[in-house]
């Protein structure tokens, strides 16, 4: 039996990877993927905790989170497509009209 803390640590690492991905990558799509990694790290936490607590709540929540993530994908991709159409790039560093 793998202790729950392993799962939590793993999810923490995943979450951090997602975060760092957002900070270091310039492609909007990759950033977007990193966010998905973060959400999945959270999902892992829920699942592990639910399993550990012997509660179904965790799994139910994961389903909800997946739904939300799906919705985010829809909106996010649409936005990125719109940006790509008008600017021909998905490099977020070139999306820089609004500042100061």
């Amino acid at each position: 039996m793998v202790p729950v803390s392993y799962y939590l640590i793993l999810s923490g690492i995943l979450f951090t990877i997602g975060t760092v991905g957002i900070l270091v990558r310039r492609n909007a799509l990759v950033i977007f993927m990193s966010i998905e990694v973060m959400l999945n790290a959270v999902n892992l936490t829920f699942l592990a905790a639910g399993r550990y607590l012997n509660s179904l709540d965790g799994q139910v929540i994961v389903l909800l989170v997946l739904t939300v993530a799906a919705a985010e994908v829809a909106v996010g991709l649409a936005l990125i497509v719109a940006i790509f159409r008008s600017r021909g790039t998905t490099d977020v560093d070139e999306v820089n009209l609004l500042k100061w």
């Binding site: 957002i22 977020v92 999306v95 820089n96 609004l98 500042k99 100061w100």
Partner: protein, 639 residues
């Protein structure tokens, strides 16, 4: 009339108000009628009051006239109240009398001036203020009169406001007087704090009980009051305004800067003698300042070419005499000299005014000469005045000056030194008085041809006051004819109740021979001065120049009035102005404004700088969130 005496000061006030509002519309005749009329009535009232007082027993010659509740704040309760007693009565007479004569004189002197109504408004206002000053029943009313005469002096010195010198002189007079007034006001405050009242009666009655002789409080109060007196009465160190004040019309100089206002300090010291008696140190300060001023101013007068300035220094010197008198406890003698001085100095000024009138405003004696034939009336009047001030035996100045010298010598507060300075001053006085006569009226005419043609005797409105004042200057001395010459010292005994508590008993113990002997010395000194004047200015007209060259340094010192104006300028005025410039143009902008604007600018600048953090790069924003999260988590984990 005694208890209606408040009408006396009110009359000129009404005159002033009438002329102020209606004068410009109603013409010169009306103005002069109102102005002279009200002052004449005031004189008549004063005489009436005087008569009423003499009818009362000597101990009961005091009438108090509370008028209305004036200022009240907590236990500070001051009424607007007047009083009449022998001292006030004498002052009333002198002030209203001389004022009346000078008003009449002014109707001639100022006849052509376009500010006629304004002039008489100020003049009447002055008479009101001066009468208020001498009839005040408490220190605050005294102070009001004190300041108001200063105001009138300011207005009248600067009467010809278009002349910068006149406006400057007025301002200087007011400000220097304010310096003195500051001391006076502090003295009044200390009186209130000490006695809980400002009424003369409370203060004078309470003083001996509440303050020990020589106590610090008494000394402080009196010295502060005396600071006021040095300002108003032009004594060292605050005399500097008076010579400049000659920029005013000459009748004003006669009235305010010779006969009345400047003597307010003497009156005040006499009035508050009950306090001064408790402060021997203050008295000796008064006497010393008086004697030194008398001598000092006389030396300056020796070399003045401007007749009015010469008279101004003479006034300072004579006022010094009066302070010498009151400083040695000879209050009655001081008042006596005040009175005679009012006569002869007013006479001298009016005489000088006549000369100026005749010469179209010329005041430089070096440009006159030989006028005695052309202006006989003026000449004789001026001669009487000059002899009186010189102490020519039998004329008024002789008696009053002699009374002072004698008491300065004999009084326990006096001494040889004070007397000697007085005596020397007497010689100097005789010298410069006669010098003025000789330079102006004798010798060759140094007039321009143009001026010569216009010389004319003054109109009767001016000549009449001259004559009357000449009579008074000649005969005024008999008011206080000393016992030793068979007189009764009428003035002294009339004033005695006021100064009763300070009967100078020591004098009685002196041998009568001393008094006569000293009198002789004084006469000798006067004649010495006159003789020297004759020698220098009639017999050897080239001598003064030679002497001036021989004693170049001394002459320059005197001619430049010991450089006192320059010293004050360098020590007080310029540093103050420099400080003001520094504060107003440097400190105010750099520090006071700078700090506030600096805060504003800093905020704005940090705004402009901080907005740069908003780079527009979304990854930087994410980084910010990430760092924030790290900090928040760090706080929670390591709290």
């Amino acid at each position: 009339m005694l208890y209606q005496a408040w009408i006396i000061p009110i009359l000129p006030l009404l005159g002033a108000a009438t002329n102020a509002f209606l004068g410009a519309r109603l013409g010169k005749r009306f103005v002069s009628l109102v102005a002279c009329g009200t002052v004449g009535l005031a004189f008549w009232g004063s005489a009436w009051v005087f008569a009423d007082l003499t009818r009362l027993p000597a101990g009961e010659r005091l009438a108090m006239l509370p008028m209305y509740q004036w200022i009240s704040a907590g236990d500070f309760q001051v009424n607007f109240a007047l009083q009449v007693d022998p001292l006030s009565a004498v002052m009333l007479l002198v002030v209203s009398g001389v004022s009346f004569l000078i008003h009449v004189y002014s109707t001639g002197y100022m006849a052509e001036d376009r500010g006629y109504a304004r002039y008489f408004t100020y003049l009447n206002l002055f008479v009101f203020s001066m009468l208020l000053l001498v009839t005040a029943n408490n220190f605050l009313v005294l102070y009001v009169g004190w300041e108001l005469v200063g105001l009138c002096s300011y207005l009248l010195i600067g009467f010809w406001y278009e002349r910068k010198a006149a406006a400057d002189a007025g301002k200087k007079a007011f400000i220097v007087n304010r310096v003195g007034d500051l001391g006076f006001a502090l003295g009044v405050m200390l009186i209130f704090v000490t006695f809980g009242s400002l009424d003369y009666q409370d203060v004078f009655a309470g003083a001996p009980q509440m303050l020990a002789v020589g106590s610090v409080t008494a000394t402080t109060i009196t010295l502060l009051l005396f600071v006021g007196a040095t300002g108003k009465s032009a004594q060292i160190p605050l005399y500097v305004w008076l010579p400049d004040a000659m920029e005013g019309p000459t009748p004003v100089s006669a009235l305010i800067h010779a006969a009345t206002m400047v003597t307010a300090g003497v009156y005040m010291v006499a009035r508050t003698h009950a306090l001064f008696e408790l402060a021997p140190f203050s008295l000796s300060v008064v006497a010393t300042i008086g004697a030194v001023t008398a001598f000092y101013a006389a030396t300056i007068a020796l070399v003045q070419a401007d007749i009015k300035r010469m008279l101004a220094y003479s006034t300072i010197s004579q006022l010094g005499y009066m302070f010498l008198a009151v400083g040695v406890g000879a209050y009655a003698a001081g008042i006596f000299h005040l009175t005679t001085h009012a006569f002869f100095k007013a006479l001298l000024f009016l005489g000088a005014g006549s000369v100026m009138h005749a010469l179209g405003g010329e005041t430089n004696m070096l440009k006159m000469g030989g006028l005695r034939l052309k202006l006989p009336v003026t000449y004789w009047a001026f001669v009487v005045g000059a002899l009186a001030i010189s102490g020519f035996p039998g004329l008024s100045g002789f008696f009053s000056k002699d009374a002072i010298l004698w008491q300065a010598f004999a009084s326990p507060r006096g001494g040889i030194a004070l007397w000697a300075m007085g005596l020397a001053t007497g010689a100097l006085t005789a010298f410069y008085a006669l010098r003025a006569v000789f330079l102006t009226f004798h010798g060759e005419s140094r007039l321009t041809w143009e001026a010569e043609r216009h010389v004319h005797e003054p109109p009767s409105s001016m000549a009449l006051p001259l004559g009357l004042l000449a009579a008074l200057a000649a005969l005024g001395g008999y008011l206080g004819l000393p016992h030793i010459l068979g007189g009764s010292d009428a003035l002294g005994s009339f004033l005695a109740p006021v100064f009763l508590d300070q009967a100078n008993t020591a004098l009685e113990t002196q041998a009568p021979g001393n008094e006569l002997g000293l009198m002789g010395l004084a006469v000798l000194a006067a004649f010495l001065g006159m003789g020297l004047a004759w020698y220098f200015y009639l017999a050897r007209p080239e001598a003064p120049g030679a002497l001036a060259r021989r004693l170049g340094g001394l002459y320059a010192l005197l001619a430049n009035k010991y450089y006192v104006d320059e010293i004050y300028g360098g020590l007080v005025v310029q540093p103050l102005v420099a400080l003001a410039h520094f504060l107003g143009e440097g400190f105010e902008i750099a520090v006071i404004d700078g700090v506030v604007n600096g805060v504003g600018r800093t905020v704005a600048a940090s705004g402009a700088w901080l907005r740069r953090l908003q780079t527009g790069f979304v990854r930087n924003y994410a980084l910010s969130i990430f760092l924030g999260a790290v900090i928040v988590l760090g706080y929670f984990l390591f709290r």
